[in-house]
């Protein structure tokens, strides 16, 4: 590796391009957010940022600064895809972005010696460098003090102490960046070649620098994090605690959100009644009440669940527990042939498979990475939540099981665990067949526990709620309108002598939706589903939540709310008088949704991350097909075994 020529000559009015780099989990993105005022995702574990992110702000001298946040890296010898992204930007090999004018290296003040390895490599790239000595508050709490002038002198670059999470040191850092652009690059001490001799010499030099510039009080034998870890990472207590935390999360998502859900439902009902009352009876009123309010309203009531799920995920990410969960699962991961690092992308999949698949960029081995990409969508994402919640509320009684956990919460937990267990089983299968290869040991840095920042979690929850509402007001609204039309036309010749319910049923069966449903009914009949469920499943390939809105439209709950939909599902009968929905069918349906890949975005991200072009499409095809087979087979097995055991 050779250092290319320095940055292009700066024009007076051109924005200053600054790249942020540093070891994983040093607070680069927190610093990026503090400088730019943006709200990129942060977390207390390595590998949160896996792609280049840009933001702009004004330097104290009034000049515009374009800040590029890069994925974390331990050295400039890139192994993983996310590390290669950082290296390409710094070397000017990323054709989509010019080489930066200044590099901002973020180092963790608590682990200065280890962090200086990357910093010293960056100093040899021939670019002006500024070092942000971040988390100096945590270092002070650990009894570490710094001689900043000595550090600046030894490194030959400006060193600015910061506490990014509290915005401390941001103004001096801005001034340092503006000044760095006018200074020459730091002196080169070592060759950039990655040989053992160079690494040894570099570490020796770092040792001397640290000895001069850092004073450490005798470290306490036992930190708070150590004491917590003795329980959290205990061989028996650790996994039990993990299960307990997951149980609390899903019970809370299910039952704690109920009062808020009732409030939203009441609001939707009030607005629906008001608007419905203003319109005369006819197709327009039917469109508004049976299409828009039945469809969008049925999905909208799940907003509290979504907010609560993301709040819990935020707490787990920011506290440092995510890394512990990955550590606990390392043994299991190795047994199924996956790298321990794979568990963090899988946990991210609980929120959404797209960032989960992106997070696999931290995995060096291509086969490990591909196996993880293929199984991440089996982790139940937030879009499945409305489907689970509707079916559990309708068919699972709230029988108390343990203090704070009832059967509804346990069923929700079971669905999430089923996805996780199947993801591990499929990973084992892929690693033993298509993606055979050696299992590599995991080196994982356990960050210290930190109190989650309430503002940061509130911002994350707010962002997710806005996205959910926007989706309800656009895609789901449009799909609900289209589904209403398909359920309304063509019209049947109504027999006025028939009761209203029978006329509606005849119209639905005669409609385009009904005809399509009856055509596909033989395909879903082995799963115990009627044509209405079949149609809802097909519609939800556009978006999983559309299952709920389609149900709302089909059952014409109109402005009567989600409770009315639950009542409709419970009382729905087949032609032979048997209940159309039973607890067994509801469980089978949930199993179908646990396994099925019904997300265009996930397919697209798999195509891109599994290998561009035909290879990416092939792997996406494998992923879609095996998940559909699992969904169909799983739902069929539940219904068949359940019936054999005497359940309806």
């Amino acid at each position: 590796m050779t250092a290319p020529a320095g940055p292009a000559r700066l024009e007076a009015d051109a924005p200053l391009r600054v790249a942020i780099i540093g070891n994983p989990n040093t607070g680069k993105t927190t610093l990026f957010n503090a400088l730019t005022g943006l709200r990129q995702r942060v977390g207390n574990f390595a590998g949160v940022t896996v792609e280049r992110v840009e933001g702009a702000f004004r330097l104290p001298d009034g000049r515009r600064c374009l800040l590029v946040d890069l994925p974390g890296s331990y050295s400039l010898t890139a192994n993983a895809p996310d590390e290669r992204i950082a290296l390409e930007v710094l070397l000017g090999q990323d054709h989509s972005a010019p080489r930066p004018d200044v590099v901002l290296v973020v180092v963790d003040a608590v682990h200065l010696d280890r962090n200086l390895f990357l910093a010293s490599q960056v100093c040899e790239l021939g670019l002006p460098v500024v070092i942000a000595l971040n988390q100096v508050d945590a270092a002070a709490a650990a009894g570490i003090t710094f001689d900043i002038p000595a550090l600046t002198h030894d490194l030959g670059v400006q060193v600015i102490p910061t506490v990014a999470s509290r915005g401390e040191g941001i103004d001096p850092l801005g001034r340092a960046l503006a000044r760095a652009a006018t200074l020459p690059p730091p002196p080169s001490r070592f060759a950039l070649e990655d040989t053992a001799e160079v690494a040894v010499a570099r570490y020796a030099w770092i040792g001397e620098v640290v000895a001069r510039a850092m004073t450490r009080r005798a470290p306490a034998a036992d930190t708070t994090s150590d004491r917590i870890d003795r329980v959290v990472l205990h061989r028996v207590a650790g996994p039990l605690l993990f299960l307990g935390i997951m149980a609390v999360v899903f019970q809370a998502v299910f039952s704690w959100a109920a009062p808020l859900q009732d409030g939203i439902e009441a609001l939707v009902l009030a607005v629906g009644h008001a608007i419905g009352g203003l319109l005369p009876a006819g197709d327009l009123r039917s469109l508004v009440v049976d299409g828009v309010f039945a469809g969008v309203g049925a999905v909208l009531v799940f907003l509290p669940q979504i907010a609560m799920l993301f709040a819990f995920i935020g707490v787990l990410e920011q506290s440092g527990y995510m890394a512990r969960a990955a550590f606990l699962m390392d043994g299991v991961m190795r047994r199924v042939g996956l790298h321990g690092k794979s568990f963090i992308p899988m946990l991210s999949g609980y929120a959404c498979a797209v960032p989960g698949i992106m997070a696999t960029r931290t995995i060096e081995d291509p086969k490990d990475r591909l196996a993880t990409i293929l199984v991440v969508p089996l982790m139940s994402c937030s879009a499945r939540l409305p489907v689970y919640t509707l079916l559990i509320a309708a068919f699972v009684p709230a029988v108390p099981l343990l203090p704070g956990l009832d059967l509804q919460g346990a069923t929700m937990l079971a669905m999430y665990l089923l996805g996780t267990v199947m993801a591990l089983a499929m990973a084992a299968l892929f690693r033993a067949t298509l993606l055979r290869g050696p299992v590599r040991p995991m080196l994982l840095e356990l960050p210290p526990y930190r109190w989650p920042a309430p503002r940061s979690i509130a911002v994350t929850v707010w962002q997710r709620c806005v996205v959910f509402l926007r989706r309800a007001g656009t895609v789901i609204l449009a799909l609900s309108v289209v589904l209403w039309a398909l359920a309304t036309f063509p019209r049947t010749s109504e027999d006025a002598r028939l009761p209203e319910a029978a006329r509606q049923e005849a119209q639905l069966a005669h409609s385009a939706l009904g005809r399509f449903g009856h055509a596909i009914e033989p395909a879903v009949a082995p799963l115990g589903y009627d044509w209405k469920i079949g149609v809802s499943i097909v519609a939800s390939f556009a978006a999983r939540e559309v299952f709920v809105s389609t149900m709302g439209t089909i059952y014409g709950v109109g402005d009567a709310g989600e409770s009315a939909l639950v009542d409709e599902l419970r009382s729905e009968r087949r032609a032979d008088g048997a209940p159309a929905y039973t607890p067994l069918i509801a469980v089978g349906l949930m199993v179908f949704y646990v396994f099925a890949l019904m997300c265009v975005s996930t397919i697209a991200v798999t195509v891109r991350e599994a290998g561009r072009g035909r290879l990416g499409w092939q792997w996406a095809g494998v992923q879609f097909t095996y998940m559909l087979a699992l969904a169909y087979g799983g739902a069929w097995l539940v219904v068949t075994v359940g019936r054999a055991l005497g359940y309806a």
Partner: protein, 42 residues
């Protein structure tokens, strides 16, 4: 057909147009800069 039926059908046509335009745009955007998730904003 009654006027309100025409109006309802116009809304349906608008919804179909929106979905088609969105599908075309997102396929172009995905080719250009990679996918994002509508459900969570990632």
């Amino acid at each position: 057909m009654r006027p309100d039926t025409w109006l309802a059908l116009a809304v349906v046509a608008g919804a179909v147009g929106y979905l088609v335009r969105r599908a075309v745009r997102s396929s172009r955007a995905r080719r250009a800069s990679g996918p994002g998730c509508d459900a969570c904003g990632h």
